[in-house]
């Protein structure tokens, strides 16, 4: 009984495989590469701009560039443009810091109807919350380990 059940399941899975549209792997990879690379180049453009126009450098430069990229990501999400880019680019739009901004604004807009505090402000952190939690936790861990290393040796 169980064997025949497995056999049917296997047949069914094979059938699904043959019928469902195959996502073109190389095409999605190429698109992610293209859009991700372009977004990083825009970031590099702002790096040059701030470096030469405002004379920033080091951590300050990196911080202002990421702030501008987050501004752009949030702005384009608000206009509904970023989701269209996302449909084309997949991972190419998720991984850059603009995608982080998108993950903040997108659920916030969606849950706006539940109010400005428990809807908008709370839902901003549905995806960004875990990122901040793991980011801060890992930085504390790294800080403690390095503090230990510096003070023991």
């Amino acid at each position: 009984m169980e064997n025949s059940q497995n056999f049917i399941n296997e047949n069914y899975l094979n059938y699904i495989k043959s019928v469902s549209p195959r996502t073109n792997e190389s095409k999605t990879l190429f698109r992610a590469f293209l859009v991700g690379g372009l977004i990083c180049c825009i970031g590099q453009g702002f790096r040059y701009l701030f470096e030469y126009a405002l004379g920033l450098s080091g951590n300050e430069l990196a911080a202002f560039v990421s702030a501008v990229m987050i501004f752009l990501g949030a702005f384009l999400t608000g206009l509904g443009v970023y989701d269209r880019i996302g449909k084309f680019a997949g991972g190419g739009s998720i991984v850059p810091i603009t995608g982080f901004a998108n993950s903040v604004v997108s659920p916030a807009i969606e849950f706006k109807t539940e109010g400005y505090i428990y809807g908008l402000a709370a839902k901003m952190f549905v995806i960004a919350g875990p990122i901040i939690v793991f980011g801060v936790a890992s930085s504390v861990l790294v800080g403690l380990v390095y503090y230990g290393i510096y003070n023991i040796f």
Binding site: T28, L29, F30, A32, F33, G36, G37, L38, C40, C41, G43, Q44, R47, Y48, A62, A63, V65, S66, A67, I70, F71, A74, F75, G78, G80, A89, G90, G91, G92, V95, P96, I97, F100, A101, S103, V105, A108, I109, E110, K112, L120, A121, V126, I127, A128, P130, I131, F134, G135, V136, S138, S139, V142, G143, L144, V145, Y146, Y147, I149, Y150
Partner: protein, 122 residues
């Protein structure tokens, strides 16, 4: 010429990081949120063992704009703080990443406030 070469490096490294994320999406069905967390942690760990700095020196924004660059910044801040003292070791990470987090919260709230939901149209 130097700028063109740099932009090529930025494009290549940033593109490869994003293509790797796409590879994970294609083969593992990870959601966007999990991919962001894993890439952030990867950047933090690579910086903690001293490797990510080389990628940043080589490719600039190609390494700092992806979310792994955010993890890099958190680790870098903590490592620099640890040289000064315990307080800086604990706060260094979030201090370095403070601008990004502040921008995400302030711009995120503002743009969400002034945007209308579009999900019903599609």
């Amino acid at each position: 010429m130097e700028i063109v070469l740099m932009l090529l490096k930025v494009f290549a490294v940033g593109g490869v990081i994003c293509a790797f994320a796409q590879l994970l999406i294609n083969y593992t069905k990870l959601t966007a949120g999990k991919i962001l967390v894993y890439f952030l942690l990867a950047g933090a760990v690579l910086q903690a063992v001293g490797l990510y700095q080389y990628v940043v020196d080589f490719a600039g924004a190609g390494a700092t704009v992806p979310i792994s660059g955010f993890g890099y910044l958190l680790s870098k801040g903590a490592m620099e703080g640890a040289k000064k003292g315990l307080f800086e070791a604990l706060t260094g990470g979030i201090t370095a990443a403070g601008m990004g987090i502040t921008a995400a919260i302030v711009f995120g709230y503002l743009f969400a406030l002034f945007s209308k939901s579009r999900s019903k149209k599609n």
